[in-house]
């Protein structure tokens, strides 16, 4: 269990993290979302005392990070896969980390095998690809068999097989009762990976809930209907207070989108008017849609429009 309470971090006048509070439950993968510059990485660094926060507390199973005698055995961290010495081998990188927390050499070999790097463990890290460094970073995070795992963008640089592997790995870790906090910009991946979400913008908490709840709260569910009698269905739907919109030219189109009523209501209405249905589909918007809707006013940096 991670408990973050009232965390605040400033860089000069800029408030990077603003009175942020959230919890990460054991046995679940919690996604940490926010636009670029929203303070996700700073929060993670503050959580483990790498950056000094102005105020607030962070506890791991009730204990501050600095009070844990062998921290890697309680909290596994992957903040940036590039935090390695390029002239050192992957095995030696893990060995010094293991030594610092009195973790046996056998465990180094175990995690190397677990992440699929055993065969290249003696290569110098300057020869590793970003994906290999991500795997090494995950091996380092798992070195102490920790109850809590914190990963910042672990899927960066991974190929599709690697992304799927890390998704399965995080779910597996959570299934063992570990608290897993993971940030990622790959929202489609996050929707598959995480069960809960902590969403921040400009260093402030925007929402904390399950992924399903977050999408439900922040998107509009619509029903797509295709029928030769679509006009009659829409007329009845309007009477029920629904918002309707033809797909394509209303004069010729047999397809429409209906929002404000459930798919069950649309089906029953169609039956009532004796309409033949060629399609009846609930169109649910994605985590990306929900995220963009929620963080529209919280973007630190905005892209220009595409001409």
């Amino acid at each position: 269990m991670i408990e973050v309470d009232g965390l605040t971090k400033r860089f000069g006048r800029h408030v990077a993290v603003d009175n942020l509070s959230f919890t990460v439950a054991p046995g679940r993968v919690t996604g940490f979302l926010g636009p670029n510059g929203s303070g996700k990485s700073t929060t993670m660094r503050c959580m483990v005392g790498l950056d000094h926060s102005e105020s607030g507390t962070v506890r791991f199973d009730g204990v501050p990070y600095r009070s844990i005698s062998r921290p890697l055995s309680s909290v596994g961290l992957l903040l940036d896969a590039s935090y390695v010495h390029p002239a050192r081998s992957g095995r030696n990188h893990l060995r010094w980390l293991a030594a610092a927390n009195r973790i046996g050499k056998d465990r180094v070999e175990e995690v190397l095998a677990l992440v699929g790097l055993a065969e290249v463990a003696d290569k110098r890290l300057k020869n590793y690809s970003l994906g290999m460094k991500q795997r090494l970073g995950l091996a380092a995070a798992l070195l102490g068999d920790p109850a809590t795992v914190i990963l910042d963008e672990p899927a960066n640089g991974l190929d599709p097989e690697g992304i799927r592997w890390i998704r399965d790995m995080l779910r597996f870790l959570a299934s063992q009762g570990r608290a897993v906090l993971v940030s990622s910009h790959q929202l489609s991946e996050m929707s598959l990976m995480a069960e809960d979400l902590v969403v921040i913008g400009r260093g402030r908490l925007i929402d904390q809930c399950s992924v399903h709840e977050f999408v439900r709260r922040n998107t509009t569910s619509r029903v797509r209907v295709r029928s030769p009698q679509v006009g009659e269905i829409l007329r009845q739907a309007r009477l029920l207070g629904a918002t309707v919109e033809y797909v394509g030219d209303s004069a010729v189109s047999d397809t429409a989108m209906i929002s404000g009523v459930s798919i069950v209501t649309v089906g029953e209405t169609s039956a009532k008017v004796g309409a033949v249905l060629h399609e009846l589909t609930e169109v649910t918007e994605s985590l990306e849609d929900a995220f963009l809707a929620v963080t529209a006013d919280e973007q630190e940096y905005r892209s220009g429009g595409v001409a």
Binding site: L50, D51, L79, P86, N92, R95, W96, N101
Partner: protein, 253 residues
Amino acid sequence: MIAALQAEWIKVRTVRVHWVLVIIAVAFPTLVAALVGMFNPDPQWVYSRNVIDLVSGVSVVSLLLLASLWVISLTSEYSHGTIRVTYAAVPARWKVLVSKAIVGTLVTLLVMAVTFWLAWFVGSTILNGRGASIGLGDDGVDAGGVFVSLLALAVIVSWFALGLGAIIRNSPASVVVVLLWPLLIENLVALALTLAGVESASKWMPYQQAIQAVSSDDSSPDVLGRPGAQLYFGVVALGLLLIGAVLDRRRDA
């Protein structure tokens, strides 16, 4: 603390450039002693004191190389970001700096001892083979005193280097400062103090005084004598290390 020491020892021995610097540090005085032994035109007029002074003088280059090693071993952690991994593994930051200082001290002692005696052995053996008659302790030279002074200077310079590295956190800048401090910075400070009316300012420059104290003529440090000069420089180096530790504790990693 033992765990942090083990981690630092693994870090030092698992980077190739560290070994290269150690090999050069050992080889350079040995090579110079060998060349002097081979090409000195009048070997019969070379005495023990000359060889000791040659070896101790050239060994200063070795201790500067080792100082560069300790600077790089610390500052490269900042440049590669591994300091964050280090402090995540060992949240008590002072333990990391103290571990680096202890590992640095032990390796420096070992390397400088090997360097000094290997260079002495090679130089004196070659010269003796060409007609010289050089033995340890001949002509009243205090070889042991010079050796201990050299070791002390090397250890103090390693602390000095680590302290500067912790303060500056940048490899090129830290190495330049460590190398230029005795050659340039203390001379400029002494000049400024002299212009300000301070008498014999150069006698109070800690690094230069400590280097002079290594000479076989132990009366050479004008003000403090051999132990005093090294104690003075040791306090300065420990002060820098302490400032580095305090700054490191306050700064974000």
